[in-house]
Symmetry: C2
Subunit: 241 residues, 2 copies
DNA sequence: ACCTGAACACCGTTCAAGT
DNA sequence: ACCTGAACACCGTTCAAGT
């Protein structure tokens, strides 16, 4: 009972269409998918549906799921490469890197956990940012082991705030979770937590641990500015130069 | 063909044993499982195997996978509650909180990503740490919106370093990934990245982005110390008090 | 209250086969 | 080189049924 006009072949086997998919196109689609539905729901099969191909095609082009994510991270981080030195003092150059990094991640907030909490399977990290940090810190007078410490502290600070600001929301029953969180905060016991109870009007949904929206809906710009200022000022006070 | 001595019942249905499992026992086992195999491999079914029960039992006790993880995070964070004020200046008290937080997370490094990059579905966060931070920062002279900014900056700094230090390694082909990373670093182009190339002996596997082991195997104590000092000094310089 | 077991709708990945 | 499709060994969660 073959369909009229159909060539003879094993039943149910469609002819491969020349989709013309490239590695780059798969990566771009993966980033779109993650932007749209988040990291929790991301799957190779879902990505394949978006692309209109068989799931195995994604594996063929990228290898496996982790490697897809690694390429997505690389794409997001490409935006982050700092400008060449501009005659400004190192503190100001460093501050620019902090601001630009946050902006780059904010463009793809769902990727934030991969950048902040995973050594993603990326064997060829972009070293441009590393060099830029080392340059600024060298100018500040750090060298040798002190340069290593300063670099590590800076790198941690660079990623830390934004990772938390854009922390992933619970995947399910978001409205219920939010309502529970709101009620829990409103029931703060002033005898157990006097300062918190007093300051709650300033803090409700605008402070870590005390919020029910993340930085996508409630950005924390002014806190980030203080964070950057504190860190760079502390670094400057410890710089040999 | 029922086994001799077996009571008559539907074939293959074993009698429920009185396992006597409690919610707390399930949570404790979940933490053990994550300590042992990491977050990537953690599953309700695997946890059930460890407990010797049907997977549905875990769901019955905890609700779902996310709620299991939320309870695990709560357990780890319980270790983190700071000591009561001790007459020391606020800078020193804050420093103690930083050190204690890192130690608490280091005891369960595989949980780090949940703490640093997810607003875990926890409707009843422990507010003891929040109050301790607010107390120290109030003593420093911060109030109102300035207190909020200082609290957010501190909270971000508190979690940022350790989350990255303990970032999850790639789940598969670890040896291959490590070898590739080593080779990539050794091939650093001195004309493109002169400072990095020169400083590589100090940085290899001891600096973010340039390492193939995480903080479990290669702790970054001295960098963390600088990070904490910088942040608190910067904060002190901006404190109204 | 606490447990088993079957079932459902998903996964990632491998393998053989097509063009 | 690039694609389809079947198959395998997993998932989380729901539902009915036992004691």
């Amino acid at each position: 009972m073959a369909t009229a006009g159909a060539k003879r072949r094993k039943p149910g086997r469609a002819p491969p269409r020349a989709v013309g998919l490239t590695r780059e196109a798969v990566i771009a689609a993966a980033l779109e998918e993650i932007d749209a539905i988040g990291l929790h729901g991301f799957s190779i099969r879902g990505l394949a549906r978006r692309l209109g191909v068989n799931p195995t095609v994604v594996v063929w082009h990228l290898g496996n799921r982790n490697l897809v994510l690694a390429e997505v991270v690389k794409t997001v981080q490409r935006d982050l490469v700092p400008p060449r030195p501009s005659g400004q003092p190192w503190q100001e150059r460093l501050r620019q890197v902090f601001l630009r990094s946050r902006e780059a991640v904010r463009r793809h907030p769902n990727v934030a956990p991969l950048i902040g909490a995973e050594i993603v399977s990326n064997a060829r990290p972009d070293l441009g940012l590393v060099e830029a940090l080392l340059e600024a810190l060298s100018e500040a007078g750090f060298a040798g082991d002190a340069l290593r410490r300063a670099y590590n502290a800076t790198q941690a600070a660079l990623v830390g705030f934004t990772t938390q600001e854009l922390a992933q929301m619970p995947g399910e029953d978001l409205p219920g979770w939010r309502e529970e969180m709101r009620q829990h905060l409103d029931r703060t016991d002033p005898s157990a937590h006097p300062i918190l109870a007093r300051e709650m009007p300033h803090l409700r949904n605008r402070a870590f641990i005390l919020r029910w929206q993340n930085g996508v809906e409630m950005p924390m710009d002014d806190s980030f500015a203080l964070y950057v200022d504190c860190f760079i000022a502390g670094l400057a006070a410890r710089a040999p130069g």
